[in-house]
């Protein structure tokens, strides 16, 4: 059964290994406190006066609170319409919250919106955010000028970025002539024009080929490690990507943060067991059944093309795996490979979604 789990690991003192986290005392880059957003019905009073039918106001976010630390890659996952884009737009100052506060590097997103925008770079998969009749370079130069870069600085930075994203040969091509993947790379380049300390990435690898996507992921990963480190708020439907990159992940459903933790711990909390498959040779089915079935009553033992397969479910990090391996070795078996099936972030996300659907009914 899923429930709301919001945990800040820097304070939890947990013994679960978190390979991706570094210093626990990092400063806060983005602070979101009790953020709610309800989109009002446009011209409600006018519609009321003329007695026209009105839709209900849309509650996009409800009491959302979390922090993104300096140099952290923070993932935000949820279904379409869960509130990810609204949240990103509020951080980017494009939408005003109904209540609650967002501060970026200490600046308030409503009162000090220009200062916030100076700290933030946003890359979305939206292709219409560029001027289609201008070249890639002309587009970047325009935005660099708006960010206040002088001409020489802008040109140098653009060259660096075009090279970094491997699109330098496309600099004189019109945006309209670029492929979807290259447009997305250009959007990433634009987001990084001013070396922002906070990056908001909305599905940054959606249209990239697998190789380019892997490079983009490697680049995003390196941003958090550079000096000064970049904090990244990453929304993506690619859960493998989220798992690979993010130190912490928030699951958002119907405008509420339903869980926030490391990917590892989210999975563990969702399903505290895992399924192990061990493949071994030099041991017969009969011998294996004799060795295991008394002690491990749920173990499945099969054989295929001379390889024995043993499958069992265990609580994460109990000692059953060690025991099975020891028994196999003592019996003279050769372990060929093994596989672990764990709950994925998709399972976690689905469980909260199911729970919300039940509540809604």
């Amino acid at each position: 059964m899923a429930s709301t789990i919001v945990r800040d690991n820097s304070k939890s003192g947990s013994n679960i290994a978190d390979a991706k986290s570094s210093s626990p005392a990092r400063a806060i880059a983005i602070s979101i406190k009790h953020l709610s957003k309800t989109y009002p019905v446009p011209l409600a009073r006018l519609k009321q006066f003329f007695r026209r039918k009105m839709k209900q106001p849309v509650e996009a976010l409800r009491d959302v609170s979390f922090d993104v630390r300096e140099g952290e890659i923070f993932g935000l996952i949820g279904r379409n319409g869960a509130g990810k884009t609204t949240l990103t737009k509020i951080v980017a100052t494009l939408v005003q919250p109904t209540s609650g506060t967002v501060t970026v590097k200490g600046y308030d997103s409503v009162r000090e919106d220009e200062r916030v925008r100076a700290q933030v770079g946003l890359a979305t998969a939206e292709e219409r955010s560029f001027y289609w009749r201008l070249t890639a370079e002309q587009n970047l130069l325009f935005f660099a000028r708006l960010y206040g870069l002088d001409e020489a600085q802008a040109r140098q930075r653009i060259s660096e970025l075009l090279e970094r994203f491997e699109i330098e040969e496309l600099r004189a091509r019109r945006f309209a002539e670029l492929s979807t993947g290259n447009r997305q790379r250009l959007a990433m380049a634009r987001a990084m024009l001013t070396r922002p300390q906070v990056l908001l990435l909305d599905e940054p690898t959606r249209s990239l080929d697998p190789l380019a996507a892997a490079r983009a992921r490697s680049l995003i990963g390196s941003l958090a490690r550079q000096d000064p480190p970049v904090s990244v708020l990453l929304t993506s439907h690619n859960l493998t990507e989220i798992e690979e990159l993010c130190e912490r992940v928030a699951v958002i459903s119907r405008g509420q943060i339903r869980a926030l933790d490391t990917p590892e711990r989210l999975r563990t909390l969702h399903t505290p067991t895992e399924r192990i498959h061990i493949f071994a040779k030099e041991i017969s089915v009969a011998n294996a059944k004799n060795l295991f079935l008394q002690k491990f009553d749920e173990m499945e033992i099969t054989e295929k093309t001379g390889t024995l397969s043993l499958s069992f479910t265990r609580k994460i990090q109990d000692n059953r795996l060690n025991e099975v391996i020891r028994v196999l070795r003592d019996a003279g078996a050769e372990i060929v490979s093994f596989d672990v099936e764990r709950a994925t972030l998709l399972d976690v996300m689905e469980s909260y979604e199911r729970e919300d659907e039940v509540k809604a009914v």
Binding site: Y39, E126, R133, L134
Partner: protein
């Protein structure tokens, strides 16, 4: 203060360069526009030839109807830009889908609107100049008086109309389409401001109520001032009345339009409709 001004001018420059690059990517349109101005001036020349030798009008500015029409069209073109370009700038960015990425840069919404309409004024200056230039070059139209005084009228009237443009942009931001300021002033100015005929004729044919409409429009005072200077050769002391009236318009409209605009931006951000169109 100076640093802010330099920053602002740099941003305006960025928008002007962008729009110039976009304009020259449509080369044919640019030349067709120039040709259309030449055709228009030529048409007015031939229409004016109908009245050659028979013009005996009490309206001093209309004794040379070609000069009156050309200045009328040149100035109207500029005035129309004044109040339509700000709203158009918003609409165009919204429709292209680029407004969001522009608004993500650390510049204020008013700067975005003013700067993104700057190219329209550059173009309008060129096209208005071409009306006067073609009249002088091909049809022997001569202009009197101080060009600087005429420019003062032009700038002042454009500023007044830009205030209406800000109201128009505010309307566009909230309601997206159907801007009443642009429609009323756009069509009204051509009819009631004396672009193609003397405003006195409205009183003559329409009575005192219709005849008083031109007095409510800033374009009437702007156009009258420019014609008094360029056609009648009047000096500063002779044109203080339309000049002062325009200043009153500006003093009343500027704070009001900025207040409305601030409210419109806040409302659009609250509704999350800043980039919708």
């Amino acid at each position: 203060m100076i640093t802010s001004l330099i920053k602002f001018l740099r941003r305006v420059r960025a928008f002007v360069i962008r729009d110039f690059q976009l304009t020259i990517s449509y080369k044919l349109e640019f030349f067709i526009r120039i040709m259309s101005i030449l055709f228009m001036v030529t048409t007015f020349f031939f229409v004016s030839q109908i009245f050659v030798g028979s013009v005996n009008t009490p309206f001093a500015q209309w004794r040379n109807p070609l000069a009156a029409w050309i200045t009328g069209m040149a100035v109207l073109n500029y005035f129309m830009t004044g109040f339509s370009s700000l709203a158009n700038a918003i609409r165009s960015e919204q429709a292209q889908g680029t407004l969001e990425s522009v608004l993500l840069t650390p510049i204020s919404v008013p700067t975005v609107i003013v700067a993104s309409s700057a190219w329209d004024f550059v173009q309008a200056t060129l096209y208005s100049f071409l009306y006067l230039f073609f009249g002088w070059l091909f049809f022997d139209v001569h202009y009197e008086g101080s060009i600087f005084l005429a420019l003062l009228f032009l700038v002042l009237t454009t500023m007044v109309l830009a205030c209406v443009g800000i109201l128009s942009a505010s309307f566009t931001m909230v309601f997206k389409r159907g801007d009443p300021f642009g429609i009323i002033l756009g069509t009204g100015s051509a009819l009631f401001s004396g672009v193609l005929f003397p405003t006195q004729l409205l009183t003559l044919y329409g009575g005192n109520i219709v005849g008083s409409i031109p007095r409510l429009l800033p374009t009437t005072y702007g156009l009258d001032g420019i014609r008094r200077v360029l056609i009648e050769g009047q000096s500063f002391s002779q044109v203080t009345q339309p000049l002062v009236t325009l200043l009153f318009f500006l003093l009343a409209l500027l704070p009001f339009s900025l207040w409305v605009f601030g409210r419109a931006v806040r409302r659009a951000k609250r509704e999350g409709s800043l980039i919708q169109f």
